[in-house]
Subunit: 386 residues, 2 copies
């Protein structure tokens, strides 16, 4: 039996300690209440703040150029040009997906992200090469990171013949989620696009995660079709929509419909077109956060850090109180775990001992100041972070 | 004669070296061109990226709670309530301005900010106590930081009898700039407010720096009055307006008028009400950046880092190319130096050897990733950063 007592840590503004037995949280108690336990290895957490391990609900490990020559020529601005340019870039730069995904995983796990949902491009030009690289990286880092892979038609599904079959193959190869992209503006045929996505989902018994950049009424229309389909197929709780910029200006009744359809909304919450988090949460929507692009053709920004993402969520939503900041952390932890359907996740007795210790004295200071100094605990084993 | 050769550094994407003699930049040349110079101490810069020292054009060292108990109850949202609450807070928390300003200065200089324009609250309740503390801190850190102090009527000038006399006294005590705040919405009498500010400026021969939060047409009106007064008094180049949220929606002709009046615009460039930088620059306005609030009653955010501020400027303005990122850095360096009227500032022969080395390979990666690892050089002397 393997027992470790993590002591001298802060949780909810109080000193705490955690007893871990064979990788599970066995006991949590105020500081020193478990101190006489002699059979456990003792681990001094240095007064750090305890958080559950981060869940990054939207990542792209196949396309980061992290560690490669830094590009200086991000000139494209509209969606289609970026998609075209990126597809070409893969060949030009000789981007090796396994290597890049590995670099990415090493970075994010050191920052405390132990769970991700990763979108991997599948298209008729690059085929399944990206997926193969990410599958290989997932396997390699299996002991530290839990990754769900979305087979993602970044270049369009219906609009690009042959993509459906590739997605089908990707799901057979090990992808966990059916991806989609702008059924109206990119796929040009919302009904056919949504039908195809859900057909694959039914066939493979998999959840759905759709990128929806479409603005205003157009996005609202696509999202409404997605909600109807979700309800018709009884897939409540198994459908996610990423970005959903259109939700910035939708009526309360519509947002509530999405809540009832159990649609998860995933946000990267930086730009001012991202919907405010509060109204979505209060309509019963599970809102999750993700880093999205980390140093890739879409954006030179992005460090991969979910604590930074929590800060972006907070700043974007004018969060100022400790309660607000806790909400931001929820988006980066519990809510993502709910979307991913993770079992035994969290900070309570019986859960897997996957957690994070941050050099900070409260959630507000952690979210505001993003300390780099961290201790990552996976299955009860402490690993020093960055 | 004191000579140091800083070698193994990157400037404009090329290897460079810098010979410093008695605190001044004596020569700058491609890597190894100066290598045979035997009389100089050699300093290996580790391949770091060279930037001029940061100029933080808008700071509040008198009100940060850095290092104090972190507050969790930022509930106020409107301007007047925050002002009231902050004034009360000073007494309650026993905030000691000298201590806080000292902490602040130690932090920002370690991050590479060697020049600041600091607004210090002067009001009829706290009087000149804050100013005394900041003056004392300025004196203490005189060898590393150059600070201009703005006597700032945070609680209003015209609207609060006795403030004018306190500002007058502050300028006699050593404040360098006459501050002002929302002549219409806070002072309730724009003509009287602007007259009072410029009267003090004329009397003491000092420049002006006005906080202007007023939105849309109201802010445009106040700003127009400020521009007229500036032109009438021949104070072109000696008037700054901080925030100027109203500029988000002003016509080109008006923005050009501000450019001709030589009005500097200072932005903290995070929230989506901040004006876009491009149109201001192209109308000939000198735009500078500042951290503004760093962990105080106004905001729990803020690390004091100007490289982070450059990133906010970049993200807010959708900057993606190396040229764009250079513009963001200009706002945090050269443009601020221009506003402050700093002499011998910059990276050219004859300038003071005040510069910064950042662990990065290009401006894009520096701005995107904000590396903490830095070497600060002040007067030719290398100081390790954070």
């Amino acid at each position: 039996m393997n027992r470790t007592l993590f002591y001298n840590l802060i949780y909810n503004n109080h000193p705490m300690e955690i007893l871990v037995e064979d990788g599970l949280i066995k006991e949590m108690a105020p500081q020193a209440a478990l101190a006489e336990n002699q059979e456990a290895t003792r681990y001094d957490c240095g007064g750090y703040l305890l958080l559950p391990a981060f869940v990054d609900s939207h990542t792209h490990p196949d396309k980061t150029i992290m560690g490669m020559d830094y590009r200086h020529d991000y000139k494209e601005t509209d969606l289609l040009s970026i998609i075209e340019a990126e597809r070409a870039l893969r060949g030009k730069t000789g981007l090796d997906t396994f290597t890049q995904a590995s670099r990415y995983i090493e970075r994010i796990t050191a920052l405390g992200t132990l769970f991700t949902r990763s979108h991997v491009d599948v298209d008729t030009e690059n085929g399944l090469k990206g997926l193969e690289g990410v599958l290989e990286a997932r396997e390699k880092y299996d002991d530290i990171l839990t990754m769900q892979i979305v087979a993602f038609p970044q270049s369009g599904l219906v609009v690009r013949k042959g993509t459906y079959e590739l997605l089908d193959e990707a799901l057979k190869m090990g992808a966990d989620v059916v991806g989609g992209l702008d059924p109206s503006s990119i796929d040009r045929d919302p009904k056919a696009s949504i039908d195809a996505i859900f057909k694959l989902a039914e066939k493979h018994g998999k959840p759905v995660d759709i990128h929806l950049h479409e603005p205003g009424d157009l996005g609202g229309f696509s999202l409404d079709l997605i909600a109807d389909k979700t309800i018709a197929l009884g897939m409540q709780g198994r459908v996610s929509v990423s970005h959903a910029f259109c939700l910035k200006h939708q009526k309360r009744a519509f947002i509530e419909k999405l809540g009832k359809a159990g649609i998860h909304i995933v946000t990267s919450a930086f730009s001012d077109i991202t919907p405010a988090v509060g109204p979505l949460l209060s309509a019963g929507i599970n809102v999750c956060a993700g880093n999205d692009n980390v140093q890739d053709f879409w954006s030179p920004y992005g460090t991969g850090d979910m604590l930074e993402r929590a800060r972006f969520v907070s700043m974007r939503n004018d969060f100022k109180t400790e309660d607000d900041m806790n909400t931001a952390i929820d988006l980066c932890t519990e809510n993502g775990a709910r979307m991913m359907g993770l079992e035994h996740y969290g900070l309570s007795v019986g859960c897997n001992a996957d957690f994070l210790l941050v050099k900070s004295d409260c959630i507000t200071s952690a979210v505001s100041l993003i300390p780099e100094s961290r201790i990552i605990v996976k299955g009860g084993k402490a690993i020093l972070g960055v």
